[in-house]
Amino acid sequence: MIKRLQEKVGKLLREKKVALVIGYEMAGDGISTTPCFIEREDEVERLVWNEHCVYNLSRYLIETRELASSPSPKIGVVAKGCDVKSIIGLIQENQIKRDEVVIIGMECEGQFDVEGERQFKVEGLKLKDKDKDKDKEGKLLEKCKACEVHIPKVYDLLIKDDRNSGAPEPQSPEVNAYAQVEELEGKSQEERWQYWKKEFARCIKCYACRQVCPLCFCPQCIADQTLPQWISPSPSLKGNTTWNIVRAFHLAGRCIDCGECERACPMKIPLRKINKKLGKEIKEMFDYEAGLDSEAKPPLADFKLEDPEEFIR
């Protein structure tokens, strides 16, 4: 798979179809990967693909596009099925044009949780050489367990998994994607408040959640405004709660559940749960799921003349 990826990217660069390609390369620790920007054909060997390609690289599309120069203004991006959803979101919201990007879709059987690495940090245990399939289910990221897009819905090039050639498309296991949300919904208002209070209290206001998010592209974030200052910039329960709730509201109907915010959060606040809850509300109210159709209007950016609510008319 890596070889074919490198060949295709090399070809794109050679034929000047793209100015650069955003992909994954090995990180210095020899286990993780890290985002990389490939501009020359002789650099393609840096590109890798494995179960540590957790990053949603579409986050870099807006800023990279500004750097790309003509006559090859296109940007290539290595994207998993979930990442493609946010590319669709960026197209829907006029942040990029479909013909400005070359989507190099990757067939993906799921990415591994950093749990292994985290244990390594917590207990000082050495990461054992991973037996590829041993307890794979246990290592999968939570979001991957309910994945329905092992093969991206939209792509320009598709790199298929060699192990699956000829075999049927990998099936998603029967996992309820909303299980964690439903568990919280089952609790009383007071219990939920206590739960989130404890989680938000840890927030250090590093804004990694916002910075890593492909759809947090506001030129000026409400959290950075000082006149008036809507959200207290210091970490306190009040400011932390406002920040995390405002962000979730702004992503309602837009969040594609790539889970990058939760992964990036150094304090391990379960941000996916709050975004997922709003995603669920949007689905129930508007029968809409983000990141599936670049032509669709996001429900909170649209109105209908026959809307039953008075205030919107």
């Binding site: 940090k121 590093c206 990694a208 207290s232 210091s234 990058e260 150094p266």
Partner: protein, 335 residues
């Protein structure tokens, strides 16, 4: 300087005693995280951790601190400051790298300007170090004049010798005081064991940071654009860094609040006029590197990095400042 051997039971008794007489902070687990927190039960004190997620700087330079309040009394405006708790504070289980970082904070907050908020906390605190026997792959303290068993900045250093016995080395009088009347004298065998552990720990540190002696001529190099490209401009590296001390001030009602700020953030240098000298990401990333490896060195005589490796471990996109700094010196010698 005294040395003695104490058992795990002795340590628990000491912790129990300290809980009663002082404010005791030590590493404990919170879910998957290791954080320093007030000790409620000595059993919860965690010993087997490479390092805490957050450095101990937060106890001297809190993420959010009320400096003073405005008051209007009988038509007159006045200022008041909340009384600080002056009870003795013991921070238990500080790793040598983090202890060293506080000496750098001293240069900043106890130098030309005396920061009373910081100094009060510094004066009432005793730092109990825990030597590092299992450094991580991301640790690089050895190349920065520190080490897994270094004593600099600590009041007392404990080394886990295995078999539930610990070597306690007093460094300052207030450190020695905590262990008065407990344990037994250390023997030759125990001292040898400690040396072996120290050497073994040093051997485990393979990452080295070799910044060029002078970064100045490299300032305008396109290198910075290249290496900062994947940085997402969040505050993880700066907020979890034991030597980053930048802050901002803001009013919340009548309270003047000091809180952490980060050079990674675009508004960090934004001025009232709207002008922002560090609008571009590369200028912000370069600032972080230069502050640590050039400006601090010029101002205070040493590099503002202790090699704890937190920025490497916690960066959401694995930006590796050591690689970046080392590589830049290589690029330079090539020219």
């Amino acid at each position: 300087m005294t040395e003695k051997i104490v058992s795990k039971e002795d340590l628990k008794k000491i912790l129990e005693g300290l809980m009663k007489t002082s404010e005791l902070l030590a590493p404990g687990k919170e879910g998957d995280l290791v954080l320093f927190k007030p000790v409620k039960n000595p059993e919860e004190v965690f010993f087997a951790y490479p390092n805490s997620l957050k450095p101990v700087k937060e106890f001297f330079f809190p993420p959010r601190e009320e400096l003073f309040k405005h008051e209007i009394r009988e038509g007159k405006v006045g200022l008041s400051s909340e009384h600080q708790e002056n009870r003795k504070r013991v921070i238990w289980g500080v790793r040598p790298c983090d202890a060293k970082s506080l000496l750098m904070f001293d240069k900043m907050f106890d130098g030309e300007y005396k920061d009373s908020y910081y100094l009060e906390k510094r004066a009432k605190s005793v730092l109990v170090g825990l030597a590092c026997n299992e450094p991580l792959d991301s640790c690089f303290c050895l190349s920065l004049n520190a080490g897994p068993h270094a004593k600099e900045g600590l009041d007392v250093l404990i080394t886990d010798l295995g078999d539930d016995s610990y070597l306690v080395e007093g460094i300052t009088a207030k450190g020695e005081e905590l262990f008065q009347g407990c344990g037994k004298e250390s023997g030759e065998g125990e001292r040898t064991r400690k040396k072996e552990l120290e050497e073994a720990a040093k051997k485990k540190i393979r990452k080295t940071c070799q910044p060029p002696p002078d970064l100045e001529s490299f300032f305008e190099d396109p290198y910075w654009e290249k290496v900062s490209r994947k940085c997402i401009s969040c505050g993880v590296c700066t907020y979890l860094c034991p030597t980053c001390f930048c802050f901002d001030l803001s009013y919340e009602g009548r309270d003047c609040i000091r809180f952490w700020d980060s050079c990674s953030f675009s508004p960090f240098t934004k001025m009232t006029s709207g002008e922002n000298p560090r609008r571009e990401k590369k200028t912000r990333y370069r600032q972080r590197v230069y502050h640590k490896f050039s400006y601090f060195k010029k101002n205070f005589g040493e590099i503002a990095c202790v090699g704890c490796g937190r920025c490497l471990r916690e960066c959401p996109v694995k930006v590796d400042i050591v690689e970046i700094v080392n590589q830049c010196s290589k690029d330079k010698t090539k020219d």
